[in-house]
């Protein structure tokens, strides 16, 4: 599968034998065919999802996951459109639609209803919700209820309804009530759930480098959206078994902390917070990013045998005595740990990224085939930026990017096929972004009997 005549490198000891390789070559070919999503059945093809989320991307993201797995997703917006259409890096937009909104406009229908102000529209919505399996909303907790279209009312007429609510502090507890009117943003759910506190340089570095630092990606909103989709899918499995719906509540301030889980347990067992330790890791070392001649490489060689191998490759064997065991390398004294960091950096700076990757992989391939245990698998890879990733052969073969065409914005490329499934994979069928584009379609299909 690699270039012509080039033999595939194997780095796991058990995989290296000739017979296994043959089996794997045919296995790889079968997989590549099996993983093509086109023409396959869709998991949620009988599921109707109403996304009435507004001013919060988590709802839009959650709805996308249902849409990719085949549900009919109707995004219900106010007549002027969801303000999330204007949330976009540096104002980049195509005919008034921002990049993130374009990216998440997959397999969706767009309908306009003014739930905030129109009694008539609320009635239409309630009728739709009578037929829906899932409702997603991000209004201030209690708003939908006060309009007569909250979980309490909708579940009366449709006991099978799954009602997903997303808000900063959730829909129950005193604090949720107190902060009900507080809106949501990605950076605030990152901050409130413990991510930035751990990123950045140590306290003795100059300002602002010793400040907490946010993740460059939308870690808060995407994690909240994924959590909502996951919780909703659990509820769908329950509904499939029993016919019973339920309410799913997401607090975006939980997002990061509850997905990775470590922060509260560390606060409890250590009785203090971890400080920021720059580019080091709290558990594994070496495990991070190093500068090289022509860019950056990541190095992961945390196990003792991986570490020994790394020292050999880089010609640093004289350091072995000081840093031999995992406990020697725990970076609890940051200044000391930086000595090893600098020593490695001195070497990585002498090579290009490709050279370093090749050095590590040649070593690993040999060590994997050796009868002698403990050769180690030091991993060195080039750090990729999104534009570099777009050119990657690996992800091209795996169809991670797809060119799509929007009725409004024209052609663009989006990320897709995030998981390969042999029978019922997720996929993108179309993209669109026009406010109210499917008003007629929805009315004809779902509201004619009203």
């Amino acid at each position: 599968m690699s270039g012509k005549g080039e033999k595939e490198q194997v780095y796991a000891r058990y995989v290296a034998s000739g017979k296994t390789q043959e089996h794997l070559a045919s296995w790889g070919k079968t997989l590549a065919e099996v993983m093509n999503p086109e023409g396959k059945p869709e998991v949620l093809d009988e599921v109707l999802v109403l996304d009435v989320s507004q001013e919060n991307f988590s709802g839009i993201i959650a709805a996308s996951f249902f849409a990719e797995f085949g549900a009919e997703v109707i995004k219900v917006e106010p007549p002027q459109g969801d303000p999330m259409r204007q949330v976009t890096p540096y104002g980049a937009n195509v005919k008034g639609v921002g990049i993130p909104f374009l990216v998440e406009g997959r397999n969706k229908r767009y309908m306009t209803l003014d739930l905030k102000n129109s009694e008539q529209d609320r009635k239409d919505f309630a009728w739709l919700a009578g037929k829906a399996a899932v409702v997603i909303e991000t209004f201030a907790p209690g708003d939908m209820d006060s309009w007569g279209i909250g979980y309490r009312q909708l579940s009366q007429q449709n006991p099978g309804l799954i009602y997903i609510a997303i808000s900063p502090y959730g829909h129950y507890t005193e604090k949720a009530k107190e902060f009900a009117r507080q809106p949501d943003a990605d950076i605030t759910c990152q901050a409130g759930s413990g991510l930035p506190a751990q990123v950045g340089d140590p306290a003795n570095a100059p300002e602002p480098y010793n400040w907490p630092l946010k993740a460059g990606m939308w870690a808060g909103w995407y994690i909240s959206g994924l959590s909502a989709a996951l919780g909703g899918t659990v509820a769908l499995v329950h509904r499939q078994k029993t016919g019973e719906g339920q309410m799913v509540d997401i607090a975006t301030m939980d997002a990061y902390a509850n997905m990775v889980g470590f922060p509260p347990t560390i606060g409890y067992t250590w009785e203090k917070a971890r400080p920021r330790i720059g580019v080091l890791d709290f558990i594994l070392y070496p495990y991070g990013l190093w500068k090289c001649k022509d860019g950056y490489v990541v190095i992961a060689a945390p196990r003792d045998h991986d570490f020994r191998a790394l020292l050999k490759i880089l010609g640093l064997w004289h350091l072995e005595d000081d840093w031999r065991h995992t406990p020697d390398r725990i970076p609890d004294v940051v200044d000391q740990a930086m000595i090893l960091y600098k020593a490695i950096e001195e070497k990585t700076l002498q090579y290009s990224a490709d050279q370093l990757v090749k050095m590590a992989l040649t070593y690993s391939a040999k060590s994997a085939r050796s009868k002698w245990r403990g050769g180690g698998v030091p991993i060195v890879m080039k750090m990729m930026t999104p534009p570099m990733t777009l050119e990657s052969k690996q992800f091209a073969i795996r169809k991670v990017f797809q060119e799509v065409e929007d009725e409004n914005a024209g052609k663009f490329v989006i990320n897709t096929n995030f998981v390969k499934m042999s029978e019922s994979p997720p996929r993108i069928k179309w993209v669109s972004s026009t406010v109210g584009k499917d008003n007629e379609y929805v009315r004809k299909k779902y509201l004619q009997d009203r």
Binding site: A12, V34, P89, Y172, E178, A185, V237, F412, V413, K420
Partner: protein
């Protein structure tokens, strides 16, 4: 009508969680996975009621067992491991022993889901891959987790969370522009997020199987899962924009950054909409900004120069304010704001305790521990913790007797032949030193009484 929040308080009452039904009751998962990525997918299954049988090598255990922050153990165990593996059955089985294959195949036959995250090809080479398992269990849902996926030129490359962050582009996005530093995202986010994708894929496959009776194979690459969370690819292809590192600002909103307050604390402030921008300008007493042509149009406002100026105004304003009153202002006027919270504050936060998103759990073996709760709360079939991690091989006897129907003599024979085994004296693998396993009914074939 009853107050909405007293209605929802009853709907979600955390003290009733354990009495509510479990969605995945009766579902069995055979879990070959290790470290964090695979185990997270199966842990979520276990949180919702599935019986997850986790296989480990005797006397080695999972690679992650001894890996705790700065080497700090808690009751001779890794405190972080207790979050990663909950409600699982721990079986120590020597895969290389000729007698082990039979047990594995019998377990695989009665399981609905099988999960692994070895380097691609390894499970196939060992005879426990999809080709082999699907022959004896055609309806199986088989999840393979890896860094780059099961096919493609990079498939055999080994990987960790860090490598997925690097391959997906995520790693290149955090830090200060024009410096030589990039920060990886903490807490093995590159394992936990893809692990949640794994759970999502298994549940979708389960939903499909309930409808059609068909099992399937799932190939989940952690780098691709992370790539699903970036709009940066489209931004580059569409507008030629390589966003890169943006320090503490969010380039999609303005103002949006982390600021330092007069009392030396850090606050995240952002305006995602026109309404919120008006609210913030009002709070700052800077309504004149709303009339400034540079800031009236949302797209215009986001342009780098304008965004920088606006973030500058907010920086100056926050410098003269204390944290608490600002949080109050945000709440009243309606713009997003939150204090930057650390590990200790999250653990102490009373709201999280009441919500059930930070749980004080009382375990039979370890006593009290604080655990993060689920990231989604379900009113009728909530996620729950029943027990935390156990020593290697703790459930050997129980699983073989209860699930496979082996007699106690047969099990003793397997122990003698070293097909199954437990832990050695290393922390992370063994029970707390004060704990007497001989008196533990679960360890002893699930016998009741004795204790």
């Amino acid at each position: 009508m009853e107050d909405y929040f007293s209605y929802t308080a009853k709907l979600f009452n955390p003290s009733e969680t354990t009495q509510k039904p479990e969605v995945l009751k009766g579902l069995r998962v055979l879990d070959f996975s290790h470290v964090i990525f695979g185990p997270t997918a199966t842990r979520i299954m276990a949180n919702y009621g599935a019986e997850v049988i986790k296989l480990e090598l005797p006397f080695h255990g999972d690679l992650w067992r001894p890996a705790t922050y700065w080497g700090k153990y808690w009751k001779h165990s890794n405190p972080l491991w207790h979050f990663v593996t909950q409600n699982k059955y721990f079986v120590g089985l020597d895969l290389k022993h000729p007698g082990a294959k039979d047990i594995i195949y019998r377990l695989a036959q009665m399981c609905d889901v099988v999960a692994e995250n070895f380097a691609p090809g390894t499970a196939e080479a060992w005879g426990v891959g999809y080709t082999q398992i699907s022959k004896i269990n055609p309806k199986v849902i088989y999840l393979s987790c890896s860094t780059y996926g099961q096919y493609g030129p990079l498939r055999f490359y080994p990987g960790w969370d860090l490598l997925a962050q690097a391959a997906s582009g995520v790693l290149s996005l955090t830090g200060y522009p024009d410096t030589e530093k990039f920060y990886k995202l903490p807490d093995y986010l590159g394992d936990f997020i893809p692990g949640n994708f794994g759970a999502l894929a298994i549940l979708m496959a389960l939903y499909f199987r309930n409808k059609t009776g068909k099992g399937q194979y799932i190939d989940l690459a952690q780098s691709e899962a992370l790539m699903r969370l970036l709009f940066h690819f489209t931004a580059f292809k569409q507008s030629g924009m390589d966003i890169g590192r943006t320090a503490n600002t969010d380039p999609t909103m303005v103002p949006a950054s982390i600021f330092k307050t007069r009392d030396g604390k850090f606050i995240a402030l952002a305006c995602a909409t026109e309404k919120q921008f008006e609210a913030l300008c009002g709070a700052m007493g800077k309504e004149d900004l709303l009339k400034n042509a540079a800031y009236t149009d949302p797209f215009e406002r986001l342009k780098p120069g304008n965004a920088k100026a606006l973030n500058g105004f907010v920086t100056e304003w926050v410098k003269g304010q204390d944290l608490e009153p600002m949080i109050g202002l945000a709440k009243e006027r309606g713009f997003p704001a939150a204090e930057v919270l650390d590990d200790y504050q999250l653990y102490q936060d009373p709201w999280r305790r009441k919500r059930g998103s930070v749980i004080l759990f009382n375990d039979e073996m370890y006593g009290e521990i604080i655990l993060a709760g689920p990231s989604a709360q379900l009113s009728k079939t909530p996620s729950r913790t029943k027990w935390i991690a156990r020593p290697v091989g703790y459930h050997n006897r129980l699983v073989l007797k209860k699930f496979l129907g082996l007699s106690e003599e047969e099990i003793a024979g397997l122990e003698k032949k070293k097909v199954i085994g437990t832990f050695d004296d290393r922390p992370g693998l063994k029970p707390p030193v004060y704990y007497n396993l001989a008196e533990d009914p679960i360890f002893n074939y699930g016998r009741e009484g004795k204790k």
